[in-house]
């Protein structure tokens, strides 16, 4: 038994029967999967049939913290939502910051496992030991922000933290998000739709307990060392606080890697209009930190008077007079560049609405981009869309954000995500993603390693599972040529494994701009009292990656799914600094399988599984 980090208790709520139970954490698993994404994947692998319907009662949702969550290590805010994704039908691991994860920990739980389906709209209220299932009939239809206000009020406690779904989750929008602290989201793969399918509107938590540390002296020195390094690093110490993640807009655009107009081209005209620099100069009112974070990359923006009345969304006038969060780089790209839009005010409004209505702005924006290509090629008509959906239309973006969340008109098609939508209109080649999930903001033709990362990502296309943009574009930790395929299989495996470890710890991936497992290792060891070497931590990551892969195999995925859309493999980038490039996945994938210890079909070998303790 450990004497720090983990609380040692799991909370389980069966919404079908109303049964609430507390059980001891399996400490063997805790040791070998650490927590968060890893530990939750272990539990999901054990407990659930991966072939179950993502939107049926047999799907389970695990809300998991890590041993570092709630400590004063920098970026200790993270929790993971691990479940079968409504967008992807694959295992998903959606990560969020804010205050909810630490609060669950302070209430005394490492994880919350939600099962079944409530007979009526419900929410879970947790105040330390006191856990209840409450009626949410009066909350159904409410936005995220309204729900947050009402549930906190009902809890009678100022410090209650709420995570919830908005109308998008209720309406089973395939890319609905779960949003806590009003603006922090477990965003991708449709975790919000899974929650909606369970009739679960919100989970309110208030915790008054504490997180103990096994070796305080060692922890304090390791913790301060990492904080100092984060301050000294130009990205984590200065860039992210000043300009947020959207500082990447100009960098990626100039690299010819900013997918534009549904990946037809890879540079956006007027990209600087939606950059972090322009945001900071014109609309930013503050930068905000998640719990425990010394980086504070969060953007808080506000529209000035003349911009408040732009666009015809008239149903929520109050919203444009208050400070809202975002936009972040990915959102600025998906709803901006990918839709050919360079109007920052349109992005601020659409992004805030995504938070308010509970939708993933990446998949929403990318789906709208695919719809715009359908529209411009005549695959859908004005009659079907109800309004012109031309690339570059901020008006269309803002209007469709609301329509998608409520499944109104053409929004009902968007709400299915771009894979299902483009298939319905007989243009499946317009789907830009992997395993049903839309790409994030980096053109894999311009950055070879990202193509391999997307193709093999267990939760579908994702920038947060192997961010080789760091070496390939930013030169962190060392510069690699984005145009070559050599060495990318190896770096992708290392990044995937290391990312799993960070995601299991309860820390935020963003700290890896400035530090790595060398700095995390002594902290994790001191917090838990369990000795881990850096190679052992990498092996934890590899174990997590493989168990997710095994889970997906059982769900029906094979090596054939490790691929990219034809556009990225066969249609060269038409213009700009990366003109002529395609992604050469075929040069990297076999080597990747080999390095992973998988067979030619992409299945983990018995030998590999045995070495990871998974056989």
């Amino acid at each position: 038994m450990s004497n720090g980090g983990w609380t040692g208790t799991i909370l389980r709520v069966d919404l079908t029967t109303g049964r609430i139970s507390k059980e001891s954490l399996n400490m063997d698993w805790a040791k070998s999967f650490v927590g968060g994404r890893g530990l939750a994947a272990r539990y999901l692998y054990e407990e659930m049939d991966p072939a179950a319907d993502a939107l049926g009662p047999d799907n389970k949702m695990i809300f998991a913290t890590g041993p570092m969550t709630g400590t004063n290590a920098s970026t200790s805010s993270r929790y993971m939502v691990v479940t079968k994704g409504a967008l992807t039908n694959a295992i998903t691991t959606s990560n969020s910051g804010g205050h909810w994860g630490p609060e669950l920990k302070f209430a005394g739980y490492d994880m919350l496992i939600v099962e079944g389906r409530a007979p009526v709209p419900s929410y879970i209220s947790i105040c330390d030991d006191d856990v209840r299932i409450c009626s949410a009939e009066h909350l159904w239809g409410k936005t995220v922000w309204e729900t947050d206000d009402i549930v906190r009020e009902e809890s009678g406690q100022h410090d209650t933290v709420v995570t919830c779904i908005g109308p998008a989750g209720e309406n089973l929008v395939r890319f609905a998000a779960i949003v806590n602290d009003r603006h922090r989201a477990a965003g991708r793969s449709g975790v919000g739709a899974v929650m909606g399918s369970k009739n679960l509107k919100a989970i309110a938590v208030r915790g008054t307990g504490g997180v103990p540390i096994a070796d305080p002296q060692k922890f304090m020195s390791a913790m301060w060392e990492m904080k100092s390094k984060l301050v000294e690093h130009p990205v984590t110490g200065e860039g992210l606080a000043a300009y947020g993640t959207a500082v990447l807009v100009n960098i990626i655009n100039e690299s010819g890697a900013l997918p534009t107009n549904n990946h037809q081209v890879s540079q956006l005209e007027g990209a600087d209009n939606i950059s972090g620099e322009t945001l900071a100069d014109t609309r930013l009112v503050a930068n905000k930190a998640c719990f425990g974070c010394t980086i504070a990359c969060g953007r808080v923006s506000q529209l000035p008077g003349e911009a408040q009345d732009k666009f015809t969304v008239t149903t929520r006038p109050h919203n444009w007079k208050i400070a809202v969060e975002g936009p972040e780089y990915e959102n600025a790209w998906a709803m901006g560049a990918d839709c050919g839009i360079n109007d920052l005010d349109a992005l601020i409004k659409a992004n805030a609405m995504c938070n308010e209505l509970g939708m993933d702005p990446i998949s929403f924006g990318a789906t709208l981009a695919a719809a715009m290509e359908l529209y411009e090629t005549g695959a859908v008509s004005d009659e079907q869309t109800g309004m012109p959906l031309n690339f570059g239309s901020g008006e269309a973006l803002v209007a469709m954000t609301e329509k998608a969340a409520y499944r109104e008109g053409f929004g009902d098609e968007l709400a299915e995500g771009s894979k299902r939508m483009t298939a319905k209109f007989n243009r499946p080649e317009f789907f830009m993603g992997v395993r049903g999930q839309e790409f994030p903001a980096y053109d894999a033709r311009a950055i070879q390693g990202m193509g391999l990362g997307y193709a093999t990502s267990n939760r579908g296309a994702c920038h947060l599972k192997s961010y080789t943009v760091a070496p390939e574009i930013l030169g962190i930790p060392e510069k690699m040529d984005p145009a070559v395929t050599e060495g990318k299989a190896e770096i992708t495996k290392i990044f995937q494994d290391a990312t799993c470890t960070v995601d299991a710890s309860g820390l935020c991936l963003f700290l890896t701009f400035g530090v790595g497992l060398d700095e995390i290792q002594p902290q994790l060891e001191a917090v838990t009292g369990i000795s881990y070497t850096v190679p052992e931590l990498l092996e934890v990551g590899e174990r997590v990656w493989n168990i997710e892969r095994m889970w997906n195999q059982r769900a029906g995925f094979t090596g054939k799914d490790d691929t990219l859309p034809k556009r990225l493999l066969e249609e060269p980038i038409p213009d700009g600094p990366t003109k002529g490039e395609v992604n050469r996945l075929g040069e990297m994938l076999p080597e990747y399988y080999e390095i992973r210890g998988w067979n030619a079909e992409g299945e983990p070998t018995q030998e590999k599984l045995a070495s990871l303790g998974l056989a």
Binding site: N72, V211, P212, I213, V285, A289, V300, A323
Partner: protein, 163 residues
């Protein structure tokens, strides 16, 4: 001249490192519910405001205490709860106009900021310099801040009338 805790809310990012540090001093765990400095987050106004005891010259907590359990530390000027004398009646928590004296259900005593014997953990932990422990003529830094807020409020009302 004594040192006092000064809070500059404009610099706060709402990261809670001050609460974590304070709670560590109080309980030896990371337990924000036992922190003596609290950060209030006003999302719609983009405002994050840490507040704690600012060691009033005229300390109502001391006046209210029926057993003289609160004394002034000679070195720091902090108003300090003596656990040996405190009977846990909670009158000081009610008397404090700022809500910065708390009742600890674990120890059944009042507890409040004692400036960590002259090295406040919250100021050390703050990554943005929003909490400073500096020399100042008066501990009453809040007065100046309130005046500023008041002024801008009055201006906004006048502006509203003119329109």
């Amino acid at each position: 001249m004594a040192k006092s805790l000064r809070i500059i809310p404009e610099k706060c990012t709402g990261c809670m490192q001050c609460e974590l540090a304070c709670s560590w001093v109080q309980t030896g765990m990371f337990q924000p519910s036992r922190s003596l400095i609290r950060v209030n987050i006003f999302d719609e106004q983009a405002s994050y405001a840490p507040y704690t005891c600012f060691q009033c010259d005229e300390a109502w907590c001391m006046t209210a205490c029926p057993v003289n359990a609160i004394s002034i530390d000679a070195d720091t000027g902090a108003k300090v709860v003596g656990d040996a004398n405190c009977v846990g009646c909670g009158l000081c928590t009610i008397a404090c106009p700022f809500g910065t004296v708390f009742y600890n259900p674990d120890t059944q005593k009042a507890f409040k900021c004692d400036l960590c014997d002259g090295n406040p953990a919250c100021a050390v932990a703050c990554p943005t310099g929003a909490i400073e422990y500096t020399e100042s003529e008066s501990a009453d830094w809040l007065g100046g801040w309130a005046e500023k807020v008041n002024e801008s409020y009055l201006t906004s009302i006048e502006g509203g009338n003119a329109a």
